[in-house]
Amino acid sequence: MMMHRTTVLAAALAALTLAPDGSAQRFGRRGRPPEAQPQAAPQPEKPAENKKVESWTVIQGGDVHVGDGTVLRRTHVVLADDKIHAVGQEVEIPEGATIVDATGKVVAPGFCLPMASGFGAPGGGSDVREGLNPFDPTIKMGLAAGITSFLWTSGSGAGTPGGNSAVVKLAYGDLDGMVCVENTTASMRMPLSAQDLSKFRDLVEQARKHQDAVKEAASKPDTKAPAAPKGTEEILKVMSGEKRLWIASGGGGFRFPGMGGSGSRGFDQTQIRQAMEIASLLGVGVVLDRPIEAWAIADEVAATGSMAVVSPRQRVENDEAAPDTTGSNIAQSAILHAAGVPVAVTTPSGRFGGSPSIGTGGIMGQDLNTPHVDAAFAVRGGMPNRAALRTLTLDSAKIANADRRVGSIEAGKDADILILDGDPLHYKTFVETALVNGKVVYRKDDEPFYRHIRR
C-alpha cells in the first residue's frame, strides 16, 4: 500500500516539476488511444474578419491573471464588443475606446462554474431557453462572487449518456447574451451493473461500426450515410468530442454519517475504475463528478485523459482496512493537477443538499458566494496558488466543454472579465467590476451587497 501511494505521489511531484500546467493527453491504460482530443489547447473562435466593431473597451494596466496559471503584470486588455481583441503591455488603443483603469488591481477571467443552480436559469425542462430570466437578482449576487457563467444541466442518462446542458452566462439584462453553448455535455450515473456494462459495451461497439460505415460511405460518391443505430446517438456525440461525458456516483449520502447519511465512501476507487473503463471504451476522457478517491489512482485517471470536479474540503472517512489509499484527501486537487488531470472546484452543497447556489441564508462557505475560497482549499492541499485559479477558469471551462469561448483572457475569447481588489484566491478579495460579453454588469459600489465593506 505504502509503495503504491509513494509512487503516485512521486509521479505527481515529477509531473509538477516538469510540466505544472501539462495537458492530460495520454493513451488509455487498457483501451485504445483517444481519438477525439477535446482537452487539447482550445483555439478560440476567430471573430469574423469583416465584422465592424461598434464599441471598444480597454481594461488598462492591471495585473492580468490569464486563467492558465500565468500572470501578466501591468497589462492592457482590449475588448472589441463582446470579445477579447488583444492582451499585452503594448497594444494599440482604438480611438473612442472606453477606458477602464485597472492600475493596482487584479484582472482575471470570470469564473465558469461546473456546478450551480439559479442565476436566472431554472432547473428542469429540456430547453434552457424556456425559463431564462436575465433580471433574476441572483445574477447580480453571482457576479459579486465572480461567477460569469456556469454549466446548467437537466436530467441524466441511466446506464448510458443522456440529459441536456448549457453553459449559461450571467449576462444581466441581456436575454440574448445568456446562452453561451448548448448541449456540450452529457451525463450518466455510476456504478453500472455487470449487465448494464455489457449493454453499454455493445452500444459502443455498434457506434464504432457505425463510425466506420459513415467513413466508408463518405469515401464512395453515391452512397448515403447510414442512420445511427438506436441508442448510440449520445455515445457517438461523446466519442466525437461534441459532448463531454460527466460521470457521477449514485452512492452519495456521506455528508453526515451520524445524522442519517449512509456512511458510504461515495465515488470510491471501484467506481472510478469503472468510469475509467468507460472512458477507455469510448476512447475519450470523461469528467468525474467528485471522485473522492481519485487521488489514489491519479495516474490511471490521467492516462484516460479524464478530468475531475472536486470539492477540496469535502471529508469522507477512509476504509479502516486500507486507510492510506481510501477516503478523502485534501491534497486531491494538487495530486490530480500534478498528474495532468484538469480539476475544477465546487462548493460543498451544505447540510441542506442540492446543487450549490448563491446563498442568502447566512451559512457562508456552504454556498456559491465565495467560490474563490473553495479554490483556496485546493491551495491548502498543496496546489500552487496561481495554478489553482485554473480550477475556476480555464480548467472548469474545459470540463464544461466551453473552453473555446470562456475561461481565459486570450484574444478571440468572450469578454467575461473581473476586476478584483486583490489576489484572486485571497479570502478578503472582492470583485470590484464584472464584465460579461464586454459589458459592465456589476460594480461593487453600485450594488447593495458588499459596498459597505471598505478596507
Partner: protein, 463 residues
C-alpha cells in the same frame, strides 16, 4: 427601544449591586465589555474539573512567528513545553533551552493557541443529542458521551481546534448540560476541562413544539424555561441555607443538582438564540432577571442589532454558524437599515453601528465577540473558515484570531488554562503553515496538553 433601554439600565444596576459573588476577570487593559463571570474553580461545589497537569515530553519549539494573542506577535520565537504546560516563550536567543528538552524545528511555521469553539455537537461518535420528550431537560448531560477517537475529533485537531464546549442539541428548550473538553486525551477524563461546561438553552428557532402543544411559540417556551429555572433556583437556595446552617439538608435531586451549580455561578448558560426578538428575550430573562452568567452561542440573523444591549448587560457573543444577515427589506429580520446587503454579523456585534435605529449602537468590542461553528452544521475543522468569512465581511483581523481563541476561553471562565500562549497555561498549540485565518494555510501539527495530537501526513493530509 427607549423603554427597553431604561428598563435594562435599571435591571443592570440592580444586578451590579446585588451580585457580590460576581468575580470579574482581571485584565491589564480596560476590557471593551464588562462580561459577567462566575466563580473560580476553588469555589466549585457542583462542577468538576479535569486534571490540571498531565504528562507530556519536554519540547523546545522554534517558530517563524508566534501569535500569543494576549501579547504582541513574536518573530523567530521559542516555546518550551513540559508536563502539559507552557514553561517559557520568547524570542530565539532570549529564551535559554535547558538540557533535556527535545528541539523541534518548526522555523517556517506559525504557532497560535489551540482554537476554542463554544458550540460543538461532535465530541461523540454518534449524533444523538436531542431527547425531546420533555420541553426542558435539566436532568440530561453530555459528559458521559464524550469520546476521543473518532473521525470528527481527528478532523477538529487537523483544523487546529483543541477545546470545545460539547453541548446538547436545540431540539428542546433546555437540552441539558454541556462539557468543556479538549479534543484529545488518552482518556476522556484527561481531556476534561470542566463539567458542567454550561447549561444549554435553546430559546427559539428549533425547539418549537410543532405538534401544537405548549411550547409552540415563544410564550410557551419561555414559560417552560422560566418554570424549570425557578425550580432550580429554589433548590439552590435550600442548599445555600443548609450551607449557612439555616435549614435542613435538602434531598439530592438529580434533575436539579446541576441547576444548583448554575445558580452558584459556577458555569454559564450557553444559549442557542438568534433573531432580534429572541435575543432580546434571552438577555432580559436569563441575564438581567435571573442574574445568570450568560453566553450567546448562536447569535445570528439580525440579532447583532442588540450589540449595545449585550454590551450593557455583560453578555458576550459567539456568532455562527451564520456569518451574515441578508435583510430583504420586508418581513422577518427586516429593519436593519442595510437592505440588500450581506452584513457580517460578527462585525455587527463587534463594531456596533446604526443597526436601523435613530442613534448609533455601541458594539461589544474586541473582548466581547467569539465565532462558533455549531459543528457539524459547519464542520468543526472549518472554525477558521467561519472566522475568515467574518473577517471578509468586516471583522478586523486582530479581532478574528481573538474570537476563536482567548475570547471564547474567557466567556466560559477557563482563560486561566487556555486561549492564549502564556507561561503556565496549557500547552495547546496549533502549528500552522501561515496565517491561520487564510484557508490556504494548513495545520502541520497540533499539541494538546503538550502532547502531539495531530501531525500532518504529507502524502495524505487530513485537512
Amino acid at each position: 427601544m427607549d423603554r427597553i433601554l431604561t428598563l435594562r439600565r435599571a435591571t443592570f444596576a440592580a444586578l451590579a449591586l446585588g451580585l457580590a459573588a460576581s468575580i470579574n476577570d482581571a485584565s491589564a487593559q480596560e476590557p471593551s465589555i464588562d462580561i459577567y463571570f462566575g466563580r473560580k474553580p476553588a469555589e466549585y461545589k457542583v462542577a468538576i474539573t479535569g486534571p490540571d497537569r498531565v504528562e507530556s515530553p519536554a519540547y523546545a519549539f522554534r517558530f517563524a512567528k508566534i501569535i500569543p494573542v494576549s501579547t504582541a506577535p513574536i518573530d523567530d520565537g521559542i516555546v518550551l513545553t513540559r508536563n502539559g504546560k507552557i514553561v517559557a516563550l520568547g524570542k530565539a536567543g532570549e529564551v535559554a533551552i535547558p538540557q533535556g528538552f527535545e528541539l523541534v524545528d518548526m522555523s517556517e511555521h506559525w504557532c497560535v493557541p489551540g482554537l476554542v469553539d463554544l458550540h460543538c455537537h461532535i465530541a461523540a461518535k454518534g449524533f444523538d443529542l436531542n431527547d425531546t420528550v420533555h420541553q426542558t431537560n435539566p436532568e440530561m448531560r453530555t459528559v458521559d458521551l464524550v469520546t476521543m477517537d473518532h473521525e470528527d475529533m481527528r478532523n477538529a485537531l487537523a483544523g487546529g481546534v483543541t477545546t470545545v464546549l460539547y453541548i446538547p442539541g436545540s431540539g428542546s428548550n433546555m437540552g441539558g448540560f454541556g462539557t468543556l473538553t479538549k479534543t484529545w486525551g488518552r482518556t476522556p477524563q484527561e481531556a476534561l476541562l470542566r463539567f458542567p461546561g454550561c447549561l444549554k438553552i435553546a430559546q427559539a428557532g428549533n425547539p418549537e413544539r410543532r405538534s401544537g402543544d405548549l411550547g409552540m411559540t415563544p410564550l410557551g417556551m419561555n414559560a417552560g424555561l422560566r418554570e424549570t429555572l425557578l425550580r432550580g433556583q429554589a433548590y439552590y437556595e435550600e442548599w445555600e441555607a443548609f450551607d449557612r446552617g439555616e435549614g435542613p439538608k435538602p434531598e439530592l435531586r438529580a434533575d436539579l443538582e446541576y441547576l444548583r451549580g448554575l445558580f452558584r455561578h459556577e458555569y454559564p448558560i450557553a444559549v442557542h438564540t438568534q433573531i432580534y426578538q429572541v435575543v432580546l428575550q434571552t438577555i432580559r430573562q436569563l441575564r438581567n432577571e435571573l442574574g445568570l452568567w450568560t453566553v450567546i452561542v448562536h447569535g445570528t440573523f439580525d440579532a447583532y442589532r442588540l450589540s449595545e444591549f449585550a454590551l450593557e448587560s455583560g453578555v458576550p457573543i459567539c456568532n455562527g454558524p451564520r456569518q451574515y444577515h441578508f435583510d430583504r427589506g420586508s418581513g422577518w429580520g427586516s429593519g436593519s437599515g442595510m437592505e440588500g446587503a450581506f452584513v457580517g454579523t460578527a462585525n455587527g456585534w463587534y463594531a456596533g453601528g446604526m443597526h436601523g435605529f435613530g442613534e448609533t449602537q455601541r458594539g461589544v468590542g474586541i473582548d466581547g465577540i467569539g465565532i462558533n461553528t455549531d459543528s457539524p452544521v459547519v464542520a468543526q475543522h472549518e472554525l477558521t473558515l467561519q472566522c475568515a468569512m467574518a473577517v471578509r465581511l468586516g471583522l478586523p483581523d486582530a479581532v478574528g484570531i481573538r474570537a476563536i481563541t482567548l475570547n471564547q476561553a474567557r466567556f466560559v471562565g477557563v482563560a486561566d488554562r487556555i486561549g492564549s500562549l502564556e507561561v503556565g497555561k496549557d500547552a495547546d498549540m496549533g502549528i500552522w503553515s501561515g496565517d491561520p485565518i487564510d484557508p490556504r494555510s494548513h495545520v502541520e501539527m497540533t499539541l494538546v496538553n503538550g502532547n502531539i495530537a495531530y501531525k500532518r501526513d504529507p502524502l495524505k493530509p487530513r485537512f
